[in-house]
Symmetry: C2
Subunit: 387 residues, 2 copies
């Protein structure tokens, strides 16, 4: 298993640099509007209808200002000094749709863009920008009944702390005091924390919209910190899933079942995660099939028949294996070769042929980023707790 | 009333610059530790046992770096370039205990310190630093039962949006499904929003600690955005309390009473606010004495007998008038002269003599900042809902 973690880390690093459209660039339209993630009253950064992003930074005496977002790799976008001593620049083409992290480099130091909100990624609070997607309605804030996102602080003996988690409760949770609900445990990726799925993932709004549309039966989502951020890329040899497994399985799950109206049996408990959270999901669910029945890996590895065969009771106990990727993660020569554990589509098909409820999903024109994972949650949620 | 708002705004502006100890400075001890509000793994900013703050910023090619925090007014602390091309500086004396907002100025541009967490104040997300206080235990995260902080999205016809609020529910809220609770509506100040009382105010931890210590009977706290941030200082002439009053009284309160197990009668509903939130509290409660019985103004004005006399039913309906300030707000010639509405202590005494349950509290050695308001909540909460 340790070797697998290392390969996954290399994969994630590689994918992280493929975040942008690589097609021919269309002529840029001058219809820029403030990004929807801007701080109140802030006019920049802006996004146009094609997905170009424009930045404007006030730093009159700076020598150089650049933005980490841009086409074609790590160079980002170099801003130039305008007549009014602000620094302005536009990406050389449209960015992929959806959410992107970024930061500024000002005179050699790394800072956030004061124009926009911050999101926890890369083990720190980074700037975020949102490129409107054609299907953005599914994660939009609408005039419908809304569930709550509850911050809980649960006791953890194994780490000798009160640990934080967020719990999504659906709109009708406060209505019927007899009704009990299934639970999905949903993990963030490396560099992120328990805030990611609500803030950049919009998991609560995705759920609200699915429920209002009659597409799912309501369930709870629990999001906590996966303790992954001490791991540096290349340092995964020492990664041990046990400390987090203890927190999740022995401490958080009993707390949730004691404090929320849950259905606490195996058929009504699922786990999913993105990127390294998918790796954690695979490790923890296969080691605890008496507790989890539905499994989701979003850009975080695959399940092969080898995995199934070496896990006693898998076919009987697992009611869903959902594996997804962004299409750009599968492009080029990575399909079937670069992937650890084999081609994920081929693996998913082989599970299906073996009689396992195996679903494979590819998010169109997205990379190892949050629009892939928002869409993965949208596709995964309606498949849960059917039995 | 409009003239009062203007005077208050001038007061707040003035008080905002008096945030630091003005006494003789002791010799600085070299026992600096990372501030408790730093981002994970970050070593700077640091604070020593006396309350000096030290900053370290990486910006190798910058021309100038300064920090807005410092002694003696607006100059802040100018950092100097160290041998390793970082910028380092220490305040020239101890800062007041408690929480302070700050930001960096780098080559003429305003940015946040990448070392620390951000908090919404001054109408934007700013850096924060925490100076340990002698009584910090009352807002510390302890190994005791914790309540939840729930993000809710409630429909608002008057503003045609889904608006956000946070609801603190006490530790036993999920236990007894029959028990109902009183509610405190708690407002932030100008430049802040609905996140302030949980993030920089630590209202949930203050409540958890009071409840664990048997000092209060549990109640809910509801925190929403006071719509104050469109108001620029000096532009208060146009401020109208009605739009926020409509959201709070006609939309939020009914939503809370429908979705949470509240005691929804006047004796079990309180309102309090800090700074401009205190001003809002005074306006809204006196206009709605059929809905509110307990009133708290934290560094946000006073109640005089004039106020009482011009408000029909005040003596009968109001069960508590709590007024508080930081001691530095009362220092010098402001006591009894600079205050709009008269000396707050004299006013509080006059209400008491008139038979009103009037409590006046002064937070020791703090200014117009959050330690004053954390302490005000600690003092206010045990006085609520006694009847």
């Amino acid at each position: 298993m340790k070797q697998h973690f290392i390969d996954l880390a290399i994969l994630f690093t590689f994918l992280g640099s493929v975040c942008f459209s690589q097609t021919e660039q269309p002529a840029m339209l001058e219809d820029f509007k403030p990004s929807t993630l801007n701080q109140p009253g802030q006019q920049y950064p802006q996004v146009n209808s094609q997905g170009y992003a424009r930045f404007r930074i006030v730093a009159p005496k700076a020598q150089s200002v650049s933005v980490s977002l841009g086409l074609g790799g790590r160079g980002g976008t170099v801003l130039t000094r305008a007549a009014d001593s602000t620094w302005v620049g536009t990406t050389t083409g449209p960015l992929d749709k959806g959410f992107h992290y970024y930061h500024l480099t000002i005179d050699g130091g790394i800072f956030n863009d004061p124009g926009t909100l911050n999101f926890y990624g890369s083990t720190r609070w980074e700037s975020g920008i949102e490129i409107p997607a054609p299907d953005e309605e599914f994660y939009a804030l609408k005039n419908i009944p809304h569930g709550n996102v509850q911050q809980i602080l649960f006791p953890s003996k194994s780490t000798n702390t009160s640990r934080r988690a967020f719990v999504y409760t659906p709109p009708d949770y406060d209505k019927g005091h007899a009704r009990r609900y299934p639970v999905l445990y949903l993990q963030h990726g490396w560099g992120e924390d328990e805030t990611a799925w609500s803030n950049q993932g919009r998991a609560n709004l995705i759920m609200d919209n699915l429920i209002a549309g009659g597409k799912i039966k309501p369930f709870l989502i629990v999001m906590t910190y996966g303790m992954t951020n001490e791991i540096k890329f290349g340092g995964l040899r020492n990664f041990d899933i046990k400390p987090f497994q203890t927190v999740l399985v022995d401490e958080l799950i009993p707390y949730i079942d004691a404090h929320f109206r849950t259905l606490s049996d195996q058929p009504h408990r699922a786990m999913a995660g993105l990127s390294m959270g998918g790796m954690e999901t695979k490790s923890i669910t296969t080691a605890n099939l008496d507790k989890f029945s539905h499994i989701g890996l979003f850009s975080g590895g695959t399940f092969s028949m080898d995995d199934v065969n070496k896990t006693p009771g898998f076919k009987k106990k697992v009611k869903l294996v959902f594996v997804s990727f962004g299409s750009r993660e599968l492009e080029g020569n990575r399909g079937g070769r670069g992937f650890w554990g084999g081609d994920p589509k081929v693996n998913a098909d082989s599970l299906k042929q073996a009689g396992i409820n195996s679903v494979f999903y590819v998010s169109p024109e997205t990379a190892h980023e949050f629009l892939s994972w928002r869409r993965s949650l949208r596709e995964f949620a309606p498949l849960l707790f059917k039995n």
